[in-house]
Structure formats: C-alpha cells, structure tokens
C-alpha cells in the first residue's frame, strides 16, 4: 500500500498492549500500555508526556525492543523487529539520571566506543570516530580519558548522547534525558539534540514529564494518561490551547 | 509509654541478670544418698552380647553379671557361678550361685546361662565373642543350678572368656516372653538396675534389691553424667557435680594435683596401645614385609612413653606386660638399642628398594592421646626415612576404613588384653579374629601355634610356646604393641571412698562399685 517514495516510519506501533504481573495467582495483571498505535518518521521527534505511572517508560521500552508485547505489533523501518542483536547499531537510548547514564568504571571514551566494539569495527577506525563524535557533542577529545565521576551532569549527558549517536542509528529514545539537568544546562542539551537530528536525521521518541522541554524539541506530541494517548497533535498545537483537559492541565505549568 | 518489643526483651534480660546477682544460696547438687559417676562416653548400644566398646562395657558391668570374674592378679574368681570345675580338658561344670536373681526378682537359673551363651553363639546375634568362647559341643542343665559345658576341643581361655562382660548372663525367660528387649533395655543380676536414662545426658541406677551380695556400702543410687570433654569432666569433679570418673590422659594427675580433695589412682590394665600395619593392601608400602619390619624397628616406644605419658607407663609387648610373662622381651624390636634398630630399619628399607616410603597413620579423633602418640611415632619413624602423614577421622569413619575396607597404612588404637595371654594373641590369627582380615597377613605356622597354645595349660611349656609365637609376631610386624594403657580413676576423696583393683583385664574398671561409699 505504502508509496515507496515515502520512507517507511522507523518505528511503527500497531495496537500495542503491554500487561504486567498476573503471575502466580493470575488475576489479570496491570495493563501499562493499552492498544497504542504510533508512527515515528525518520528525522522526526515525537514527544511523549504524561505523569508518572502513565506508561511512558514502558512504551519507550517497547520502541527499543526491550519489552515483550502482550499483543499488537511493532515494525522497525518497515520490517519486523526481530532480535535486539540483529538491530545492533540501528537504535540507541539516552536515559534519565546522568550519574547512572555512564558506567562509572569505564573511561568516557570506552563508553562512547562500545557500540562500535559490539558492531565489530576495527580499533583504529573506532578511535577516530570517537574523537569526532565527542567534538560533535561539544566536548574536546580529552574527555575520552576521563571517568564519569569527573564530569558534570551536563557533560555526562553529552557523553551519553555521543554514545547514542556513534553508530548513526535510525532511532533514539530519550527517556527523561534532560529532567535532572539544571535549566541552564538543559537548554544546552536540548539544542544539541535538535542540531544533531538536523544533521543525522534519526527518528526520536522524547519522553518527559516536562511539557515545556518536550514542546521545544518535538515535532509531534503524544499525551499519555493511564496507558492511553489522550491527545496526539503537532507540537505547535501546544503553543496554543490543547484540546484534552489533561493536556490543558499540563499547559498550566508553563504559562 | 508503650513498651516496644525490644524493650520488653531487654527487661527480661535485666531480670535474668538480677536473679543471678541476688541468687539464692547454691542448692546442694547431688542428693546425699547418691554417688555420681562422670562417664566419658555414652553407650553405643544396649546389647551386651554385641556392643564392642568400653563405654558400653562399663555400663553393662553395673547391671550384668558374668559367670566368672577376675581379681588383681588376673586370677579367675567366682561370679554368678559360685563354683566351677573342669572335669576334663574339654568339660566344665558350673554351679550357679543360690540367691542370685535378676532385678525383677526372678532367680537366675541354668536356662538363663545356657540361653545367654547360646545367644552369643547364634550367628543371628552377630556377636564378635562367638570365637572367644571356642566351639561348644554340648551345653546342658542337669538341674536349675548346674550347667555343664562340653567343648569340641580344649580351650584354655574358655573360662577367661566367660569372665568378660560380653558373656553377660541375661534373663532369657523374659527375653523369650518378650518382656525384655536386650537391644533397648538393660536387665541383669548385677548390683544395679537402670531407673532412668536420658541419652547423652545421664543415667540413674538404683540398687538391684535382689542382688545376691547384701553387704553393700554403696548408696541406693548411682547416677552417671555423660561428660565427654576431659576439661569439663575435671571441672565437674572440682565443683562436686561428680564423685568419680576415668581418664586416659596421664597428665590428669598433674592437672588435678592442686586439688587436695581429688585423688587419682592409676589402674594398670592388660590393655595396650597398638598399631595395625596394613600388610594386605596392594597400595600400601607395607605390603612388603621388610617395610613393616623397618617400621616396627623405627618406632620409638620409649619416646612415646616419655613424651605422651610423661614416663608413667611402660613399653608393652604382644603378650601384655601385665601378665608378667617375658615372652617378647628378646625380639630385636625390644632388645636392640635405638641406634641399632634405626640402622637396621634403614637397611631393610634399602633392601626393599623403598628408602622413603610414604605412609599415613590413621588414628581416631575420639581421644587426644591417639593424636599425641601418632605425632611422636611420626617423628621417630621419620628418622628412618619414612614420610608420614597423620589423619584423625571420627570413630565410625576410622572403623569403616580400617576394619571393613582396609584402606589405610597404619592404624592406631588399643587392644583389650582380657585375662589370659592366649586370648590376646589369639587375635593374630585372622581366621579366628576375623575383624583383622582386612589387613592381617595369614601366617599358617603362626595360626597353628596359636591354636596349640590355646589348649596348653598355664606353665613353662606354654611360656616357651609364647616366646616362639612372639618371635613370629615380631617377624610379621603386622600388629604392633606400643605401650601399656593405664586407666586413671579420679575421685573426690572428701565425698566418696572407692575400691579399685590395681590391675584389670576386662576393662572392668569399677568391678568393686558395690564397695564404694558415700561420705556425705
């Protein structure tokens, strides 16, 4: 059906359901994600907002192939997702908590390099890529030799972004990637993500409880409430008055 | 304020502490009409005809009687049999003591004696004493108080074998009726009967009201506390919880020397510490007789006496020194000087082509004395070139490895000397002993000699035969005598009076328990 000229969405969720629990005494369990469909096009960022427990993070894990689906399908670049190992280098993630984003025992260079090691790239080639990537995220090459403990929160998130981008993936999930950062640093990182997306054209899912930051970075925004999308709209819509009452409540915090 | 759980428990502990401080004056420990025996070990089973451990024997001896007993000089004395007569080299007549009765009041009759002896001989009982009794051709009771025994062949030690508690006379009528189970009860015609038993904790014995001796000085109750640890037993003796006990460690006299109210009596026994050398295992260096001989020569028995026993015991021989025979004194093992023996041992090893055989001495962990002997032995035989390890497994494992599987090089234990030389050395015949078949080489000439000596009456001819046997034993170097085993009886001289034989041949340490007296 799809016109071949239009690139397939990097991520295509079709009525995805995720149910937790229901183990030993099998009484139903808890539906964290209820029949959600979502497409993310290359070069596009979808923002995902909602309160804690609304199912944002679970949906993020679904998009990364980390979460088995209870029902529904997930396609990646038009194909069935398959095993995570087959998708090496095609997708990556940047998570909350800068202090745990990087392995505290590895030098930053090693962390950034790792996805390439997993891909099996020769060491010589890797070195150059890492230096270039660090420069790309605004860190000089000396950072490769440092341990995460010697870096500020913003710097660590930059290193994490460098690691996420090193394989030039088709899709990145940012899960509360800027929430723990201070305002002044948050803007640095948000701008960096926007710049890099312009350059590399990856599709992205930006998960946050902070509508202001999400609105700033996303093309489209999905508002999630109790496992469902209550509103999905262009980001520009959230500079005006959104439709759903819950979205409007969220808007109130940034007015 | 609500009291939390922690506070509650805290209070409890405090109360306990307070109780301790303000404590009532200490109550007297033992009741006045009781003497308390500190028993080093619990019995290993109830069946007197079966159990083969001293800890068991010592308890059986309180309850059961044997037809005969022995005195200080190993001479046979009347026991349950008032008198006996050997009417031919193979026939005996026993007169049962009138008035002897089991603790239930029933008089001991000939049927009990016959039944008991037949029970021992019955293969189903699986008594190891079967062989010691010789082969009984016929056993009859002309009347209730007379038993006649006809042996197939002369057996000098027959009477002596009857004097050991394994030949205890049990109430056969009750056994057959089912009111007495010898595997879970003790009931005999001896001085005491069991009133109460708490396994591993205590025994309470009361006088058998029907015991034939009526002149007892012993109090009504004899209780026994099981205290395996030497130190704990010494402490119990000091604080008066027990009145008498036994030790195998010769240093107890030293350790109790400061306590003026505690006496330590050594009791010489016909028992001796011994080493079994595994001649039969192909994997043992001792498969070669020369290595065994070298080992025997290199053992420094004097050092064992000096270092383990502080010189308090004596070097011993296959025919125990306690019998007063000098049968084995002139074999090279005993007659040569240490230097000569060492050089001879080295020569033997060289001859065998094994200048440094690797061996392991196995001793049970049951008694620390074994460990000490093993270590002194280790040092002395190392001088001849042996490489020696020591292992001290628990008793069961030790017994299994040595007597069942024969998986050992040298095993250290002790041998009961009983009351006649022929009884001890009889063990050198594996066909007779059976228990040592796993490691004892069968020497037909020795077997024949041992068979012969059994039927020889005590006297010069027998002594000559014993010398001959001793030479053969020494030459085989298969089962080695080390030093005499002395028992040490410690008692509170302020609470009891004891009567103890100077020498004992049947581990009947408390033979005269009926003559003990409480001084409280």
């Amino acid at each position: 059906m799809r016109d071949s000229a239009i690139p397939a969405p990097v991520v295509d969720l079709d009525r995805v359901v995720v149910t937790y629990g229901g183990g030993l005494f099998g009484r139903g369990g808890f539906q964290a994600v209820k029949a959600i469909s979502l497409q993310i096009a290359p070069g596009q960022t979808v923002g995902l907002v909602g309160e804690s427990g609304s199912g944002k993070t679970t949906l993020g894990r679904v998009c990364l192939g980390l979460q088995p689906l209870s029902s529904g399908t997930m396609r990646f670049c038009g194909e069935a997702f398959g095993a995570l190992r087959q998708r090496r280098g095609q997708l990556s993630v940047v998570l909350q908590h800068p202090e745990w984003a990087l392995n505290p025992r590895l030098r930053c260079g090693r962390s950034v390099e790792e996805p390439l090691v997993i891909l099996g790239m020769p060491a010589k080639e890797r070195r150059g890529r890492v230096a270039a990537m660090l420069e790309n995220v605004g860190l000089d090459a000396g950072f490769a030799e440092r341990f995460p403990g010697q870096l500020s929160g913003g710097q660590r998130q930059r290193v994490a972004i460098a690691r996420a981008l090193i394989t030039e993936p088709r899709f990145i999930v940012f899960d509360e990637a800027v929430s723990a950062l201070d305002v002044s640093v948050q803007a640095q990182v948000l701008n960096l993500i926007r710049e890099l997306q312009d350059r590399h054209g990856f599709g992205a899912l930006f998960i946050s409880h902070d509508l202001a930051a999400t609105r700033y970075i996303s093309h489209r925004i999905a508002v999630m409430y109790q496992g469902e999308f209550v509103e999905v709209a262009e980001a520009a819509r959230f500079y005006g008055t959104p439709e759903h009452p819950y979205s409007r409540k969220l808007m109130a915090t940034i007015e | 304020m609500k009291m939390t759980r922690q506070q509650g428990i805290l209070g409890l502990a405090f109360a306990a502490g307070l109780g301790m401080l303000t404590g009532l004056p200490g109550a007297a420990y033992a009741a006045d009409d009781t003497i308390v025996w500190g028993k080093p070990g619990e019995i290993t089973g109830f069946d007197a005809h079966v159990a083969g451990t001293v800890a068991s024997w010592q308890m059986y001896q309180m309850v059961y009687e044997t037809l005969l007993t022995t005195d200080d000089s190993m001479a046979l004395q009347p026991g349950l049999a008032e008198s006996w007569e050997q009417t031919s080299p193979t026939s005996y007549v026993f007169k049962i003591r009138p008035g002897a009765a089991f603790s239930n009041g029933r008089a001991v009759v000939a049927a009990d004696v016959i039944g008991s002896l037949m029970r021992i001989k019955n293969p189903e009982t699986a008594s190891y004493w079967t062989a010691q009794l010789g082969t009984i051709a016929k056993i009859e009771a002309p009347d209730d108080h007379t038993v006649t025994v006809e042996l197939e062949a002369p057996h000098t030690a027959f009477l002596a074998a009857l004097a050991h508690v394994t030949a205890a006379i049990m109430p056969i009528k009750e056994l057959e009726e089912g009111s007495f189970d010898p595997t879970s009860q003790l009931m005999g015609s001896g001085p005491f009967m069991v009133a109460n038993h708490k396994q591993d904790e205590s025994w309470s014995l009361t006088k058998n009201p029907h015991y034939w001796r009526k002149d007892a000085t012993a109090p009504e109750t004899l209780s026994a506390l099981i205290i395996p640890d030497d130190s704990a037993r010494m402490a119990a003796l000091r604080d008066g919880r027990i009145d008498f006990t036994t030790f195998s460690n010769p240093d107890v006299a030293l350790m109790l020397a400061r306590d003026s109210n505690i006496e330590v009596l050594p009791q010489q026994t016909t028992n001796y510490y011994r080493m079994d050398v595994n001649a039969k295992s192909e994997t043992s260096a001792f498969h070669d007789i020369r290595v065994r001989q070298a080992f025997n020569l290199a053992l420094d028995r004097d050092a064992i006496n000096d270092l383990v026993f502080a010189g308090s015991t004596t070097v011993d021989y296959p025919v125990p020194a306690a019998f007063g025979k000098d049968a084995c004194h002139n074999t090279s093992t005993y007659a040569l000087s240490r230097e000569d023996r060492l050089s001879k041992a080295k020569d033997l090893l060289a001859e065998a082509g094994k200048p440094a055989p690797e061996i392991t001495i196995m001793a049970t962990s049951a008694d620390p004395v074994y460990g000490r002997i093993a270590q002194v032995a280790q040092q002395s035989i190392t001088e001849a070139g042996f490489k020696v390890d020591i292992v001290q497994p628990p008793v069961a494992e030790y017994l299994d490895k040595v007597f069942t599987k024969g998986e050992f090089d040298v095993s250290l234990s002790w041998l009961a000397g009983y009351t006649d030389p022929s009884m001890v050395i009889a063990w050198w015949n594996p066909n007779f002993a059976i228990w040592n078949q796993s490691f004892q080489e069968d020497v037909p000439a020795l077997d024949t000699a041992l068979e012969e000596v059994k039927s020889l009456p005590d006297g010069e001819i027998r002594d000559t035969k014993l010398v001959e046997i001793c030479d053969m034993i020494d030459d085989g170097a298969n089962l080695l005598a080390l030093v005499s085993r002395t028992d040490y009886i410690a008692y509170r001289s302020d609470t009891i009076e004891v009567k103890v034989a100077k020498r004992s041949g049947s581990s009947n340490t408390f033979q005269f328990i009926y003559d003990f007296k409480s001084l409280d």
């Binding site: 609105r215 700033y216 980001a235 | -």
Partner: protein
Amino acid sequence: MNNIVSCEDLVITYQSSNGPVRALDGVDLTIAEGETLAIVGESGSGKSTLGMAMGRLLPSEAGREAGRLEVDGMPVFDMARDDLRRLRRDTLGFVFQNPMVALDPTMRIGRQMQRAMGRRARAEDIHALLERGELDDPERVANSFPHQLSGGMAQRVVVAMAIARSPRLLIADEPTASLDASIQDKVIGTLCRLRKESGASLVILSHDVHMIARHADRVAVMYGGRIVEQGTTARVLGAPVHPYTRALLKAAAGHEKPGEWLTPIPGTPPLLTGRCAACSFEPRCSVSRDICRSSRPKPRTVEEREVLCLLAGSEAERKEVAQ
C-alpha cells in the same frame, strides 16, 4: 514592617572527603513578615542550604563559618538546644521536596499529624487541619500510611503539618518538584492560600521560574552561594538586570515561540572551596570585563532592586540588554 528573617554575610561550609565546599558565600537577606519570597537558583547555588539554615537543620558536616542569621529576632546559630527546638516547633514550618521521604513510612498520617500539632490534638482537630490542607476524606487520610497516598495528597499532608502550629515563617524547599506536573500548581496554590490565612511569611526555594512568577511577591536569585539579584517579582523577572538572571530566563523552555531556539548558558556552575574573590558568574557571563575577574561585587541598588554585579546599570550592560 518587621523582618522575620535577617541574614548578614552568612557563610556556610561543608566538610567533604575532598576538602571543604563553600555552600553560602556571604548571603545578605531580609524577609518581611507576611511576604512570600522565592529564592531561585540551580542546584548547587546554595538555596537549600539557606533554607535549611533558617531552622539550623543542616547536616553535621555543615558549619557556619561567618555571619549572622536571625529568625524572629533569635540568633539561630547561637541558641541553646531547647530554644532552638522551640523555635522550630512554634515559629517555623517546613515543607520538603519529596513528601514520601519526609513522612515516616511506618506511622499513620494521623499520628504524624498529632506529633506536629501537639499532644492535646484530638481526632477532630486533625481532620479539620487535613481539611484545611484540601484533603477530601480526612478520616481516611488520617488512617492511612504514607505509601497509601498519592504524591499530591502526601504533599498536602506535609503542608498541613507545616502550618499545624501557626508558624510565623514557612519554608518550602522545591515543594512541587517531585509532583506530577498536572497537580503542581494546585498544591502550591494550597500552600499560598494557607499562608495568606495565617499571615505567615513564606519562603519558596525553587528552580522553576514560571511557578515563582505566579506566586511570589519578591524574588531572590542565587548563584555561587550568594544572592545576585533581589527585588519584586515583576521587577526581577520582568526586567532583570543581572546577566545571570537574564540568561536564566532565556535558557528556560516555556516562553519561546514555536521554532525559536533557546539560548543556553555556556559552561557549568562554580564549586567554591573558599571565598570567591571575583564575580562567580564571570566565566559564563556574556558581558564580563576584566574588572569582573579581579574584584568581588558588593550589593548595589539598580532599578529598584538589589544586585550583585559590577556592570549592572552600566553603559555596556544596557547595550547588551537592548540586543
């Protein structure tokens, strides 16, 4: 108007395994009775330290090095223990960032409320107080354990506890940061309403400039352990004069237009180990001059607010604003 808090050149230092860290580098501040003051700053700016110092609730590794802090006329750092305890009990009320942490998980809400209200508080009093905190079913709440409440409800409980003894000064440290966005505004609304009812002063410590703009009378901006700009909310947030305040407002997402880029502040906040001899914002400042590197700014009044900037109000600075 009397001052409930007055603070002069307060210096507080933490002893850490890597040496001393100066959290407050000379704070001058007064809070009037009945006013709502917001202290804005990023993490590490010293705002929490300042807030906790008002009740001398700093951890044991923190110590006052210099300066004076009086609350209700009492020298907080030079009081006897019992007096301090009384000050905390009767004069101060605290609302902490995370209500789940601030409430004892093993004690029912009612009991914790009672501890805050005093021994003689009856169930009705507790329920009434919870109702004032806008908790719908006070009986159920009082019988609950903290984990049985939502974050918003728990924070209302904390707010109710803070006003239990009608304190004269309420200190709220990031009172909504751990709550879901949709309820933040309501909770802070409750807090402000209760303050107004009791006439107490309120100090809100926050990094959220939008929230502050809506609720505070006055704003103090902290940076590097000092208050760099303070004045009425309208003045400070509407027409900031300190380069840091300006940069902060430009960097915060929320008021940009669609497609517009935010202007981040380059660099990272400072970590002081001793007295800062220069302007601590200088390394990140877009208008800095040589003088900023060599002398420590003193408080000046510029355009109806107090500001700690050597250039504020100067020609060069005005030019920058105009751009």
